[in-house]
Amino acid sequence: MSEAKTLTYYPGCSSQGSARHLDESLRAVLPKVGIELDEIDDWNCCGASVGHIGGCQKPNLALTGRTLAKAQQKGTRDVVTGCAACYLNTHSGAEKIKADVKTRTQINTALREAKLSYDADLRVRHICEVLVNDVGIDRIASQVTNPLTGLKVAGYVGCQTVRPFAGTEGGGKFDATDEPTFLDDFTRACGAEALAFSNKTSCCGASVAVMSPDRTLPLIKTILSEAQEAGADVISTPCPLCQTNVEMYQAAINRKWGTKFQIPVVFYSQLMAVAFGMAANKEAALQRNTIAPTALAALARPEGAK
């Protein structure tokens, strides 16, 4: 892929809040590897992992229907998102609407209330899958001007980025659900060291961690313990909620178990931004991590330098 390719972009709600640094770093690095993002006009929430409980199944699917209808107006077949929950919901919603005529008719009946329609022809993709299949690891490596030599990275993929669609026809033949390698490939392409990490796809507790941390702190502790024993400078992840959960609950875990975790959790795209020679804050958005990734920041080019 040599020319720039424009993809319809669904940033998701976390891009305006807790995961701004994912959105900001993606917008910085993707043009370097030939991907231009064209944001969906007036996109809405995907429903995440609780919409069906709060609003019931059909209205929850209608949320996805509306975003897809707005995406369709962009005229490209591929819709991409960097958020695991947006990907899971929108991808599975698109498949449901496509597979079942009755569902498609119902969703379109609902969409007509706002003068919208959806033809069920869009392909919903995860940005990581696009990076693996369309861009390629070699092209990512070719953009590295500031290799992250010596940085030890624990690649924490999380669940929903690779489950349940990785390796399926609809999911774009994308890595494995239990032992994915793409995140470590990104790390190595950036010149950093990818540590062996067996909790790659162990769950962080997702929204249950937000509503009742006591139920899920042990899950996060398992992830942190392995990263610490492996000597990780940073944990890298593609998932907005994994990033927030694993970062923000370290203090609570330390209080509860007397541990001393203080491990920065960054997005793969922040690693790429630094490795591409971009500014630590303006482009890599490192100032947005509540646990400062000092080892990574030390490798970054001074602000404003080219």
């Binding site: 709600c13 976390s14 305006q16 809040g17 807790s18 701004r20 007036d42 996109w43 809405n44 929430c45 429903g47 995440a48 992992s49 609780v50 919409g51 069906h52 409980i53 709060g54 609003g55 019931c56 199944q57 059909k58 209205p59 699917l61 209608a62 949320l63 229907g65 509306r66 899971l88 119902q106 009946t109 609902a110 969409l111 007509r112 209330e113 706002a114 003068k115 919208l116 669940c159 489950r163 349940p164 659900t177 796809t201 769950c203 507790g205 997702a206 929204s207 249950v208 961690a209 937000v210 509503m211 009742s212 139920r215 899920t216 923000m248 203090a251 100032q287 947005r288 991590n289 509540t290």
Partner: protein, 199 residues
């Protein structure tokens, strides 16, 4: 959705498995379950569940409607989908649990103060009203669904997290983000619900 079979005096409702098959997303594939237990063994949070998915599915077959719809199994699923990708019979375990949870809340089986239900309703309020989820408002609203005292306790307990989010610019301050066509979204959601109730 059809109405649930009437509550009977006997603990076993033999029509329940059929109701699950006809009304629960993925329920038509439940009969493929061979009780191997890969789902329960794979579950990251199974130790906290009243019953793992395997046992819950057998209880559905046995007609234990009350125990199934009131079990905390439905509220501990984190939607990691490990059971879905590992099930040797292709049973969509997570999807079934999610819809059982939705129906448990809708039909009033979830006990008052179930965290997931309160959280989900706070979440949906933001999604429906603004078209976006405002993490700050959802969390605050959720905390205070437990009353003023408990709300304050939870808010204080998480104060340092909130401060960190504000400091790094990750908690949106000011007016909530919202979509332009909020009226259209509300109409879409209302229509979708109307169609669902008519099924």
């Amino acid at each position: 959705m059809k109405a649930l079979p009437e509550v009977s005096a006997v603990p076993y409702d033999l029509g329940f498995a059929r109701w699950v098959r006809d009304n629960i997303q993925g329920g038509e594939l439940l009969s493929l379950c061979m009780q191997c237990g890969v789902c329960s063994g794979s579950c990251p949070i199974g130790v906290q569940m009243d019953y793992g998915p395997r046992k819950l599915f057998m209880m559905i077959r046995a007609g234990m409607k009350e125990e199934v719809l009131r079990s905390n199994t439905l509220w501990n699923c984190t939607s990691c989908y490990r059971c879905v990708v590992r099930c040797p019979r292709g049973v969509p375990v997570t999807y079934i649990l999610q819809d059982l949870a939705a129906k448990s809340a809708e039909l009033g089986y979830a006990s008052k103060g179930t965290e997931n239900v309160n959280f989900a309703r706070s979440f949906w309020w933001s999604a429906r009203f603004y078209g976006r989820t405002d993490e700050r408002l959802i969390t605050a609203r959720y905390y205070f669904t437990f009353g003023l005292k408990e709300g304050l306790r939870r808010a204080l307990e998480n104060l340092s997290i909130a401060v960190g989010m504000i400091r790094t610019g990750r908690m949106h301050m000011g007016m909530p983000r919202r979509i332009k066509d909020r009226r259209g979204l509300k109409a879409i959601l209302a229509k979708a619900r109307e169609l669902e109730l008519g099924e």
